[in-house]
Symmetry: C4
Subunit: 204 residues, 4 copies
Amino acid sequence: MSKGRAEAFSDGIFAVAATLLIFNVQIDKSGPGGLLDALLAAWPKYAAYAASFLTIGVMWMNHHGLFERIARMNRGLLFVNLLLLMAIVFLPFSTEQLGSNILVPRDSNTAASLYALNAFMIAVCFSAVWIYALTHPGLLRPEVDRQVALQSWPRFSIGTAVYLACVPLSQFSPIAVVVVCSALAVYYVFERLPDITRQAAGQH
Amino acid sequence: MSKGRAEAFSDGIFAVAATLLIFNVQIDKSGPGGLLDALLAAWPKYAAYAASFLTIGVMWMNHHGLFERIARMNRGLLFVNLLLLMAIVFLPFSTEQLGSNILVPRDSNTAASLYALNAFMIAVCFSAVWIYALTHPGLLRPEVDRQVALQSWPRFSIGTAVYLACVPLSQFSPIAVVVVCSALAVYYVFERLPDITRQAAGQH
Amino acid sequence: MSKGRAEAFSDGIFAVAATLLIFNVQIDKSGPGGLLDALLAAWPKYAAYAASFLTIGVMWMNHHGLFERIARMNRGLLFVNLLLLMAIVFLPFSTEQLGSNILVPRDSNTAASLYALNAFMIAVCFSAVWIYALTHPGLLRPEVDRQVALQSWPRFSIGTAVYLACVPLSQFSPIAVVVVCSALAVYYVFERLPDITRQAAGQH
Amino acid sequence: MSKGRAEAFSDGIFAVAATLLIFNVQIDKSGPGGLLDALLAAWPKYAAYAASFLTIGVMWMNHHGLFERIARMNRGLLFVNLLLLMAIVFLPFSTEQLGSNILVPRDSNTAASLYALNAFMIAVCFSAVWIYALTHPGLLRPEVDRQVALQSWPRFSIGTAVYLACVPLSQFSPIAVVVVCSALAVYYVFERLPDITRQAAGQH
């Protein structure tokens, strides 16, 4: 089974989910002349939009990097990938709750918990795709060194642990959850994936 | 006529339809501090989201598997494929009705009927694409054994029959319809398509 | 300039526009137990959905057929194609008005006029893309016989004339406009494009 | 790292963002028989739709032209591209504010400022992608002449300066901002990108 259409389908889901985030940026205009105030008051929604857009974008980059190491798909891998996509498509909903409630006393904690749980689920599904591929070597490209890949695992899993730690953190500081999730997205751009790319750097 | 763009268009429709499902997950927040209760009360919407996302995802997987057996497209096949896509895009609407009404006495039966009818229509259109391709051998890849494909037909049609049986079932238990449709999606991942793949397994 | 990404971008627009049509299928539920009546009362929205989905789908098929005859793109062709896409993306709005107003006395005429005007604009832009390509022969694939293509022009333009005729027709019978547009979509599936395909049939 | 999926993801984002603009075209119908008046009164939304669709479409064309000069991607380029996409997806929101407020006294100035700022951000991110690629020559296709590309820079940056100038302009005439942004989109179709394309014209 070729991986071209699996990538096209995944790219479509990532792209649509990222784009739909803009629907969560909505303002409450109090009346004529109130646009500027309404725009300024909506800052939590811009922050949530940026954090989620970056998260989806970086997940896509890592998905891209991971699938470069995969030579072919089977039904099981397609299914695990589907669960990953299902978790990613849920992010616009979590983002909406976060953006709408971050200034509401108790609800901000609930919304940040939901957001962190969603990010954690995405990271878990992402790991599941990678573990599935590693444990079914026929799916990997021959030049992938499974030993090196497994050794890079602990660093790869940092994100999963941090997202999980954000669940209790959300009870203390919902803003901190947004900051940590955004920082993690930027961290994953520059620190994470180059590592598992290194061994295959020769032919790219 | 090449099949590349037909796949790209279909992938786009599947991906967008799956992603739009998240719009049906909406909550009624009663007031400040009510987010947690509202999130918990929305469980039927998460269930409907998961069932429909899996259904669309697995339909996409089977679409993928089917088109791997097709070498070229003609206008008739494009048109039947278009009807299939039209039925799939309807699923977010059926899902919305199901998620919003599953706890409302009589409406839950109506919504589950609508959902089962929609799934049945998708299965019928899916069969129509396959039958059209089988009866126009010039469209199939030469290595596809039409005899084997036709013999696998009864098992392939189980889903269609089950979806149809869900229409009367919905009058008794709408929840059972959601469970059966989700189970059918999972069944189709692991049981169904490998069968018609077997004969072409050599070159993949 | 390669045409691959122009096709991918166009496919994406067609696919998203077709999928967004489902948002126009919305019902007014009067209260608990009223779902069935609300679903039945929404029939004009299903009809508008089906007519527009078929129209976009068949436009996509013709776009596909047209681009098969094009070897390369230039900026002018990209721009005319952009205008075509802009007209297509407008269709969900026209469809929404048609579906919402087809049973409202005077508004149904207005909505059907808008719909017919939109379809007319799409057909005009579609012709513009084709004329632009025909008058810039460097863009066409060498095997395309411009003489034959120009002779097939009158039949190709039937749709444009019919859509235009639907504007006055909408003042008498809005339903007739929906029927004619749907019929035209089906007509274009089976009658129109094979004609300009014929000359290039050898290499497909 | 291949650029195929980066293009597919970007194409998806551009296509979805352009298509979502239609959601900003909404009318306030006062009652039965009021559709025509409501449609006519919504002209600012059509203007905003057209201006933004053209802007996104032309940005896509330039993105296409730019990526033709790029041979391979690295993480940094993917990240800068992600920021560009994040700015583009924000345009439907800015467009909605513009279309809804262009006739409201003070809010029209605010909305036009927001719109101009958004277009300016897009232009800045677009420049950042191009500068990043130019300063990392390993990413460019070998036939790209960096000297010529750098010399074409001033003309390329005209748009950025004009968008910035639209921010103060918006305080005097919001309509002028829409006109200037639309004109700039058309200008970029026919004047801008052919210039940096010239040197590579031979192999296309």
